[in-house]
Symmetry: C2
Subunit: 345 residues, 2 copies
DNA sequence: CTGAAAGCGCTTACAG
DNA sequence: CTGAAAGCGCTTACAG
């Protein structure tokens, strides 16, 4: 990286002159056009671009906002990011935008490569989202140089904003049980994320306890996309005895399944009842045909909470790791449990 | 804002000592625990947080990435942001992540309050998205201190990545005309954005030329949300003679309308044909019931293009404002024009 | 155990 | 018309 001095040397002028020209004050300071030309040529030749840190430091009238890194797995569902960012924007507006939020895409399982966590001179703090199992292992065994808040994950060691994934599975199984089901199917997003596995576990273990059978062939694995749901439903309808209860650990999958069911004349909830985990925008499941019963993960509120914790940390108001557990309310709609709507807690 | 010197003074030590303690090297340097305590107390009392710019400047082993501001209207559709960010992440990964992207939420009509454009010491360059009419006016009449790329807008004065909104409306009208329609309805997102108005104009003017009538009562205005579409459809079905051709200037609205039509037993495309402008994630319209015919705005590719232009600007490879116009292909699906699928360009 | 000083890359008031 | 120098807030090698 070349500096203003390099440019000055190449152009045969002083650094101050280069600065004046680059800041558009050449006319005002009556710099000769020849000098200007030489300087601009040198800038191009050296591919010089100014060091913003130095500029900021020097020109102090600029408010110096704390810089927050948002580590987001680049292959994670983008819809989630949208909901997250919505909450985050709300928070920054509420808190009068006192932070610079920098988006740091990372590859799952490779969080350990990120320098921002290892050095204290890049960001003031970090929010880490979508960690894989091995990313979490890395975090458990390292000491980041900056304060960290985990999004949608939990650890004793860190501040965390999370939900009870196991409970989501449990409640879905309980509702199916209440509806009298003895068999269930499950569509799973294949995933490097812990959270989804825990959901499945909660569902399956509670089914077992409640006398609901889940045959191995009724466990269908797919991508966490609408298309993935379409493919999963293709397998589902070919089953010999398709269960009349279906749990989807992501609403994308459920929307894809719904598409296929509608096309094939399979009626929801008459022929099959569906419960999904609400990860993407609430509107999508609220106005599907039929509207889907979902367990809603309040992404926006969780994001806001993240920012508030970060804000407290930066103000030195956090003594030790604190975590916030968000409730995940079951939103009963037409696809399952409508007759219990009034009584379901 | 307090500095390390303030902390040092209050604690009665030198700035160097404070730095050592704050960087976790107290043990290694055998700083007495009393001193450490005094310093940490002072940090808290002054609510000190380190100036990242100064840290970066001093510790040069940190790569000094150019900082790009992403100005995004905070009330704009979040789904759009998701698609945009997807393209942006792809680009940063492709280009080996040579940029720091800072999210700068702004309020529509108030872009002129943003300091980042007026000073050259905050960001190296900016992408501006979702400008309102008055924001555009501001941009036309000002000279930003940093390079700017407009997203989904056009101006002679700036680099821009955009689409032909008028043409979208024209092509929709032409397809309806080809299908033999003589009447059409239109559901419009009420909007501060220019782009949407231009679409409507293109549609309406071409309808007129093609002998398609749009009665005033067949122009329905709603929010650019699925719920908005639900409400608009509520009005639509109460019309005395609802047209059999419906243009929605956003796919959100179309999805909401579809929800209502399905519920009321109105068949698409038999009873009414729909064309929508595809702004949110492609999957949503691909797997609706029925799948929607859309004019797709390639948000992801446009975002990637933005980053590439920014990259060229920073490398001094852009002489004067360049703009990239993206094609918006009509994707024919079941909701309209299926019989022309093969022949439609 | 702690301090004084140099220097990161810039900008700007001042001098000539 | 242009240059030399100070200084923004930090960190670190060095001195004691």
């Amino acid at each position: 990286m070349s500096t203003i001095k390099d440019v000055a040397n190449l152009a045969g002028v002083s650094a101050g002159t280069v600065s004046i020209i680059l800041n558009g004050k050449a006319a005002e300071r009556k710099i000769s056009s020849k000098t200007q030309e030489r300087v601009l040529d040198a800038v191009k030749e050296l591919n010089y671009h100014p060091n913003i840190s130095a500029r900021k430091l020097r020109s102090q009238y600029v408010s110096n906002n704390p810089t927050i890194a948002l580590y987001w797995a680049s292959d994670a569902r983008v819809n989630l990011m949208a909901r997250f960012l919505k909450g985050l924007l709300n928070a920054t507006i509420q808190l009068k935008s006192n932070f610079d939020i920098i988006i740091c895409p990372y590859k799952n399982d490779f969080l350990y490569l990120e320098n921002g966590l290892k050095q204290r001179n890049i960001y003031n703090a970090a929010i880490i989202a979508n960690t894989s199992i091995s990313d979490m292992k890395y975090l458990e065994n390292t000491v980041p140089k900056i304060p960290v808040v985990l999004f949608n994950r939990f650890s004793d060691k860190y501040c965390a904003v999370h939900v009870d994934n196991y409970k989501m599975g449990v409640e879905s199984a309980l509702l199916f049980s209440k509806m009298g089901h003895k068999n269930a199917a499950i569509m799973l997003a294949k995933s490097v994320y812990l959270a989804m596995d825990v959901r499945n576990k909660g569902f399956m273990e509670t089914c077992k306890k409640s006398g609901i059978q889940i045959l191995p062939e009724n466990i269908i694995i797919s991508d966490n996309t609408i298309k993935g749901g379409v493919e999963a439903a293709g397998k589902f309808i070919k089953l010999d005895n398709p269960p009349r209860a279906l749990f989807c650990n992501s609403d994308n999958i459920a929307l894809g399944a719904l598409h296929v069911f509608n096309k094939k004349g399979i009626k929801v909830p008459e022929d099959v009842e569906i419960i999904a985990v609400g990860m993407s925008s609430a509107e999508n499941t609220e106005f599907s045909n039929p509207p889907l019963t979902v367990i809603n993960i309040p992404m926006e509120e969780m994001a806001t909470s993240c920012i508030k914790i970060i804000s407290d940390i930066i103000d030195h108001d956090v003594e030790k790791p604190t975590s916030v557990l968000f409730d995940t309310p079951m939103i009963i709609r037409d696809s399952c449990g409508n007759k219990y709507k009034a009584t379901w807690k």
